[in-house]
Amino acid sequence: MSLKHRLSAVNWLPIAAATLVACILLSLLSSSFMSYTNLQSVLVQASVTAIMAIGMTFIIVTAGIDISVGAILFFTSSLFAKLMMDTGSYTLAFACALLCATVLGALNGVLIIKYKITPLITTLATYTMYRGMAIHLTGAQNIPVPREMGFLGNGKLLSIPVPILLLAVVLAVGLYLFNATRFGLYARAIGNSAQSARESNLPVNKVTVFAYALGGITTGIAALILLARVGGLQSGIGIGIEFTVIAAVVLGGTKLSGGDGTIVGSVIGAIFLVLIDNGLNLMNASPYVYDIVKGSVLLIAVVIDKVSVTRQQQHLLNQRAARIRATG
C-alpha cells in the first residue's frame, strides 16, 4: 500500500493538524495557554460535545443525522432534575434519565426505518416534540440539583477531572464498537449503500436503530455532566448544541454522505471548536462574532471536502475519456 493511501486512511489527520496549528497560534497569543490547568479546562469544556459527537458519528456514518440531540439533552436534564427534586433518589434519577435518553434516540431510529422518512425531517419533528415534553414535565421551572452532583461536572478522581474521565471511557467504548464489532462495520456498510447492505443480507434495521440509540445514550451522559456543571436546570440548556455536535463530527473527518467516519476525529473536532472559543476569548472578540467564525469554519471544512470529492470524480471522468480515445 502506498504512503498516500495509507495516510488517506487516517481520516482524522487533517483535523489533528488543524488543532495542532490552533494550539501553536494560541500559545503565541497567550503564554498561559499551554499551562496544564488551561489544557485541562479546554478538555473539560469540550467533554459534553465530544461525548455527544461520539454517538453522532455512528448515526452520520450510516448516512443519517439526528438534530434532536439538543432536545434529548434538555429532556434528560429535566427528567433528572425533576426526579431528584421529587424523590431524592440518585439511583432512580440516573437510571430513568439514561434509559429515557436511549429510548428517545432509539425512537428516532425506529421512525426513520419504519416510515422511511428522511432523518432530517424525522428528527426535526422529534426535536420540537422532545423539547415540548421537557417543558411540560417541569412547567418551565428552573430546578437546582443537589450540591454533590457537582462532582460529576467539577470534581476530580485521581486528580483528573471527572468529565475527562467519562469522555475517556465513552471514547474507549466508542472506538471498540466502531472498529472491532459487527455493528461498527455494518454501520459503515449501510452508509456506503443501504441497497448493497440489504443484498448482502445485513441487519440494516437493527443496526440503524442501535446507532440512534447510541446517539441517545451518549446524549444522556452528556446531559448529566452539563447539568452538574451548570448546577441546575435552566430553560436554555441544549439550544443549538446539535450544531456544535454535528460540526465537531464533520470537522473530524466523517462524511455527511455516510460510509466513512472516525471516532477520534469527532473528539478532536469538539476540542478544535473549544479552541476557537478560547482564541476569540483571548482576543477579546465580541461575543456575537463567535458564531460567525464557527459557522465559517464549518463551511470551509465542508467546501474543502466537497471540492476534493468533485476533483476525484473529474479524475475518473478523464480516465474514462482517455480510455475511449485509446480505443479509437
Partner: protein, 502 residues
C-alpha cells in the same frame, strides 16, 4: 467414481416472473452441470436480469421449479445453496477494505469481536485461489475497475462453491483485465464450479461458453451447445422479428440539412460526425453505455462538448437548452419518470410544460393561463391517450400513456428537430405502434428525427439510415437498402476493446 449422468448443480423448469400481473419472464427451463459455462444471451430487455435475480435469490419466482443439486427449493438462498452472483453494478462498499468487503456477509469471530486477522486470512486465501495479488487492507475505492471486479468475484465465491453467475462482467474491463478474468473462469470450471455467463459480446460467448440459453421478449427461444450453433444462427435467434405486422411507411427525406455534427467529443464519446436532413429519421444503434444517450443529450444542449454543432447551418457555440429549444429542437428523454414527467402533476400541466408561454394571459400581466385545457384535450385526442380526465395525475397512467404525454409535450412545441431517446421503452405493443406512426408522420412533415433505440426492429422499421455506436465511437453506418440486423448487432456487440474490424 463418476456416474454417466452427474447431478445438475442447478436446474429450473418453467420458471416465470410477473410484476403486478405483467409477465416479464416465462418458460425458462434448463439444467446446469458442474464445470459448465452456460451463456445467457438476449437483447436488452429480453429478461436476462430478471432471470438472473431469480437464480441468485433476489427475486422469488412467480411460477416454476428450481432444483439445487437435485433438491427442490422455493427461493434460492445463496449462502446455503452455494450460489453466488456478480451483478453488473458492483455491490461493493467503497470505503471498506478489501478484506471487509469479501467477508462482510460471514464474518469470522463473535459479533461483539470480529476476528480481523482471520478475516484478512480468509480474504487472502480467497484471492490467492483466484491467483491475483490484491492488498486486502486496501480500501476498495482505491482499486481500479478490474481489481474491484476481482474482489466482487472473490466475495461471491465465498459462498458460490457450486454456481457462479456473472452478469456482463467485462463491460468495464480493459483487454488484459478481461483475459485475466477468462483465465479465472477456466480455473473455476476445472474446479467444478458451474458458471452462468451473461454477456452482450458474441466473441466472448463463443470463446468461453459450452452451452447457451437464448431469451427474447421474456421467453426462452432456444438453447443448445455453442459448438453446434453457428454464430449467425444464434444472433438471428436473439434478434427475431416480432413487429412484422406493424410496418410503417417512410417518405424520402429532402436534401436540406437540419443538423450537422462535426468531430464532436466529450468524456463519453469521441470524434462523432454525422448530419440529419429534413424529413429524415437517423437511427443510432448500440449497447447500453455506448454513449448514445450522451450524444443525444449533447445535441439538446445538456452537456458540454468539443467540436462543431450546426442547426440549420448556424453554428451553436456552448448552447444551452433554451437556445436549442428556440431553434426548434426537442429531446424526449430515455428515463421519463426521473427526467421527463412531473409525476404528481396533472396530464394537462405535463402536456403544456414545454410551451407555457403560449398560454399565459395578457389581460392581467402574467396572471393565469388561457387555452391550456383545450390544447391539452386536443393532444389527448390526437395521440389517443387514454385517461379519465386531463386533470388526472400523470403517475397514475400506464407506461404507454405516460410516454404519449411526454411525446405530446414536445410535439406541442412544433419542433423542427426531434431527438428521441428510447421512445418506446416500457411501452405496450399498441402504444408502440401508435408512437411509430407518429414518428413516421413527423418525418413526412419535414421534421429531422434522431432516433436512439435499443430495440433493433424498431430502428430497422423507422430509420432511413442507421449509425452504430460502440464505446463512444461510431463504428458503422448503414443506408436503408443495406440494413442487416445481424450485422448491426454484431458490430455493436463486438468486444468493446478490440480493434475495429476492417
Amino acid at each position: 467414481m463418476f456416474t454417466k449422468q452427474p447431478i445438475a448443480s442447478l436446474s429450473v423448469l418453467g420458471l416465470a416472473k410477473a410484476f403486478s400481473g405483467k409477465t416479464v419472464v416465462k418458460d425458462v427451463s434448463f439444467s446446469l452441470y458442474p464445470g459448465e459455462i452456460v451463456a445467457l444471451v438476449g437483447e436488452n430487455g429480453a429478461g436476462k436480469s430478471t432471470t438472473k435475480n431469480m437464480l441468485c435469490g433476489l427475486l422469488p419466482p412467480s411460477e416454476g421449479e428450481i432444483q439445487v443439486a437435485g433438491q427442490t427449493v422455493t427461493v434460492v438462498d445463496g449462502k446455503q445453496h452455494g450460489i453466488g452472483a456478480v451483478h453488473q453494478e458492483l455491490s461493493l462498499f467503497s470505503s471498506l477494505s478489501v478484506a471487509q468487503n469479501i467477508c462482510i456477509s460471514d464474518l469470522p469471530g463473535k459479533p461483539g469481536r470480529i476476528d480481523w486477522p482471520a478475516c484478512r486470512q480468509i480474504a487472502e486465501q480467497q484471492l490467492a485461489q483466484l491467483g491475483v495479488d490484491v492488498d486486502v487492507n486496501q480500501r476498495v475505492e482505491n482499486l481500479g475497475a478490474g481489481k474491484q471486479q476481482i474482489v466482487e468475484i472473490a466475495k461471491a465465491l465465498l459462498h458460490a462453491s457450486k454456481v457462479l453467475i456473472l452478469d456482463e462482467p467485462t463491460t468495464s474491463l480493459t483487454a488484459p483485465e478481461r483475459e485475466r478474468l477468462f483465465t479465472l473462469m477456466r480455473r473455476l470450471k476445472k474446479q467444478g464450479v458451474a458458471i452462468i455467463f451473461i454477456s452482450h459480446f458474441m466473441d466472448e460467448i463463443y470463446q468461453m461458453s459450452d452451452k447457451f440459453i437464448c431469451l427474447r421478449d421474456g421467453r426462452q427461444v432456444g438453447s443448445g451447445n455453442i459448438a453446434d450453433t453457428p454464430r449467425r444462427e444464434l444472433e438471428e435467434m436473439m434478434v427475431g422479428r416480432t413487429l412484422d405486422e406493424a410496418k410503417v411507411t417512410l417518405t424520402p427525406p429532402s436534401t436540406e440539412l437540419a443538423v450537422q455534427v462535426e468531430r464532436l467529443s466529450s468524456h463519453y464519446f469521441h470524434d462523432i460526425s454525422f448530419s440529419i436532413r429534413r424529413g429524415e429519421v437517423l437511427g443510432i444503434a448500440g449497447l447500453m453505455g455506448a454513449g448514445r444517450t450522451e450524444v443525444a443529450e449533447t445535441l439538446f444542449g445538456l452537456r458540454p462538448f468539443e467540436g462543431r454543432l450546426l442547426v440549420d447551418g448556424e453554428q451553436m457555440i456552448k448552447p444551452n437548452v433554451r437556445q436549442m429549444k428556440q431553434r426548434g429542437v426537442c429531446y424526449l428523454t430515455e428515463d421519463r419518470r426521473r427526467n421527463g414527467l412531473f409525476g404528481v402533476r396533472s396530464v394537462k400541466e405535463n402536456l403544456s410544460a414545454a410551451k407555457l408561454s403560449r398560454f399565459v394571459q395578457r389581460r392581467v400581466k402574467g396572471m393565469g393561463f388561457r387555452g391550456e385545457a383545450s390544447q391539452a384535450q386536443e393532444w389527448v385526442e390526437q395521440l389517443n391517450i387514454s385517461v379519465p380526465s386531463i386533470d388526472e395525475a400523470v403517475s397514475s397512467l400506464s407506461g404507454g400513456n405516460q410516454q404519449k404525454v411526454l411525446l405530446g409535450r414536445w410535439l406541442a412545441t412544433l419542433p423542427r428537430v426531434c431527438i428521441l431517446d428510447e421512445p418506446t421503452k416500457g411501452v405496450d405493443i399498441g402504444a408502440k405502434f401508435e408512437i411509430h406512426k407518429k414518428i413516421a408522420a413527423l418525418a413526412a412533415s419535414g421534421v429531422a428525427v434522431l432516433l436512439v433505440s435499443s430495440d433493433l426492429p424498431e430502428l430497422l422499421d423507422l430509420s432511413h439510415r442507421i449509425l452504430v455506436m460502440r464505446t463512444g465511437h461510431i463504428v458503422g453506418e448503414f443506408a436503408r437498402e443495406d440494413f442487416d440486423a445481424v450485422e448491426i448487432i454484431s458490430l455493436a456487440a463486438s468486444s468493446a476493446f478490440e480493434k475495429q474490424r476492417a
